[in-house]
């Protein structure tokens, strides 16, 4: 009987896969991917790419100032995003939520936050507060929440249920289960998502273009308005450097933490 159920499950699965495949082909035709331009692409783009080299960084001091501002905004936006998302994710994860409807509600809330464009969020805060970094920070924080609630709660849902069982069996409260069982177990995945979001926020503060007194996003827009692609590439490299720096710093901190842990546990 089991086998039968399995078979049935398999055929529905297969059917779904086939349907998706057909839809994929249909979409391929819709987007016109089968086009001769595919083959000429390289020769057409050659000149443009050459125009980007060598990358240029004009007025590095001003650019550094703009980069620092973006970094500060990204730090604040990420901070608030993380704080709220962790709190909400604990109620959004199915294996922790007090009631399943709360989980659905929070996930829908996350989806809603994502559906409203960043620009509208930014406008809302600008209307309330005025220009400056604060509305940008809030817009970033809100956007981070939309993503992190989802990511965090899914990470929690994927955890080994045995661990949660073990703590539940000691009579631990929900908060205790979270802090003593879940956080240590998925700390590293939490950290990597948070860093990932920080990285997105650095770039996002660059494209939002409304984050206030400049920021590296303004530099990017400025360079692109005058069509100076060598400068745009230069700024891109600076942003790339910022992302790498953030990654290196966390890696350093992580390694140091591991080292200390090893020392304390040897």
């Amino acid at each position: 009987m089991n086998q039968l159920i399995n078979k049935k499950k398999q055929t529905t699965n297969q059917m779904i896969v086939w349907l998706l495949f057909v839809f994929f082909i249909f979409s391929l035709l819709q987007v016109g991917i089968l086009d001769e331009r595919i083959f000429q692409a390289f020769s057409r783009v050659e000149g443009l790419l050459l125009g980007m080299f060598p990358p240029v960084v004009n007025e590095p001091i001003d650019l550094a100032g703009a980069a620092i501002e973006s970094l500060q905004i990204a730090i604040m936006g990420t901070l608030w995003g993380i704080i709220f998302s962790i709190a909400l994710a604990m109620f959004a994860a199915k294996n922790l939520t007090p009631h399943i409807s709360i989980s659905y509600a929070l996930k829908a809330f996350g989806a809603f936050v994502r559906a409203v464009p960043a620009l509208i969020w930014a406008l809302l805060f600008i209307i309330a507060i005025g220009l400056g970094p604060t509305p940008g920070i809030l817009a970033l924080a809100i956007n981070s929440i939309g993503m992190l609630i989802k990511v965090y709660s899914e990470a929690i849902e994927e955890m080994d249920t045995g661990l949660i069982d073990a703590l539940r069996a000691t009579g631990a409260s929900k908060f205790q289960i979270v802090m003593q069982g879940i956080i240590p177990s998925i700390m590293s995945i939490f950290i990597s998502w948070s860093i990932f979001r920080f990285d997105i926020n650095i770039r996002y503060s660059a494209v939002l273009g409304v984050v206030g007194a400049g920021g590296i996003g303004w530099e990017l827009v400025r360079a692109s308005r005058i069509a100076a692609y060598d400068q745009v590439l230069g700024i891109t490299l600076v942003i790339f450097g910022m992302i790498l720096l953030a990654e290196l710093l966390t890696r350093f901190l992580k390694e140091r933490a591991d080292l200390a842990t090893a020392k304390a546990m040897e």
Binding site: A166, G171, T261
Partner: protein, 249 residues
């Protein structure tokens, strides 16, 4: 010795995929007993244990623990019941990335304010006691290692230490000596026996080693295919019954 600690009433459990793991289990366990459950692999021993503290919600029947109806308990009440019931898991279920002593301290969580416990602010007394228990089970040298760096038997003993740290009034131990060498096994079983006799702890222990069951338990329950087929003292457990339990299909 005659207070009823646990009483199950026509307890039954069917898993979502249709597996019938428990069928009409009626048991009464009294204070201070050391009960050993034996039975072939897949008989339903673990499922029975996990039903008692509602880690698996049974699909039929009732469970009374110290006069409380477990199946109906929720929230704080359920937590209080669980605090009273220590559990040693077959697969240990340690928090792998936390150090050994911290895993033992988790047994104290039910007694602490939610906040303090969450932040891991265990009192000095609790900590000393946890380290003591670790010494009792022979792990003083592993106290600071991460739980996943321990050997199989060491992990199992951490699981036991955690359950004992909980100062439970009922201990459910699911094959607590499966990964232990003979000496550690005896050590652990002796320890359980002492606590039962001296502190009035009640223990239910799943065992595969019939000789250990006979040596340490004051009562043995045989489960086969989800049903109780034997319930008596070690002396009453004849070879015939053992044969029927394990060998007859």
């Amino acid at each position: 010795m005659s207070d009823i600690v646990l009483q199950t009433n026509s307890l039954g459990m069917t898993f979502p995929d249709g597996t019938r793991a428990l069928n009409n289990i009626n048991l009464t366990i009294r204070k201070g007993e050391l009960v050993s459950i034996i039975g072939p692999s897949g008989a339903g021993k673990s499922t029975f244990m996990r039903s008692i503290n509602l880690l698996n919600k049974p699909t039929e029947g009732t469970i009374m623990f110290e006069g409380e109806e477990v199946c109906k308990a929720k929230g704080k009440k359920l937590r209080l019941i669980r605090r009273q019931i220590g559990m040693v898991f077959q697969h240990f279920n340690l928090i792998k990335r936390s150090p050994t002593y911290q895993n033992v301290l988790h047994g104290r969580l039910g007694y602490m304010s939610s906040f303090k416990g969450g932040l891991g602010r265990f009192s000095e007394e609790d900590t000393r006691q946890a380290l003591n228990i670790l010494r009792r089970v022979g792990l003083e040298e592993q106290a600071f290692k991460r739980a996943d760096e321990l050997s199989g038997g060491q992990q199992q003993r951490v699981g036991i230490a955690r359950a004992i740290a909980q100062s439970p009034s009922l201990l459910l131990a699911d094959e607590p000596i499966a990964s232990l060498d003979p000496s550690s096994s005896e050590n652990v079983m002796n320890y359980l026996k002492t606590v039962c006799e001296e502190d009035g702890l009640t223990s239910i222990v799943n065992l595969h080693q019939v000789d250990f069951a006979k040596k340490f338990a004051n009562r043995i329950i045989g489960i086969k295919a989800g049903e109780v087929i034997f319930d008596g003292s070690p002396k009453e457990l004849t070879d015939g019954i053992i044969n029927y339990l394990y060998y007859n299909k």
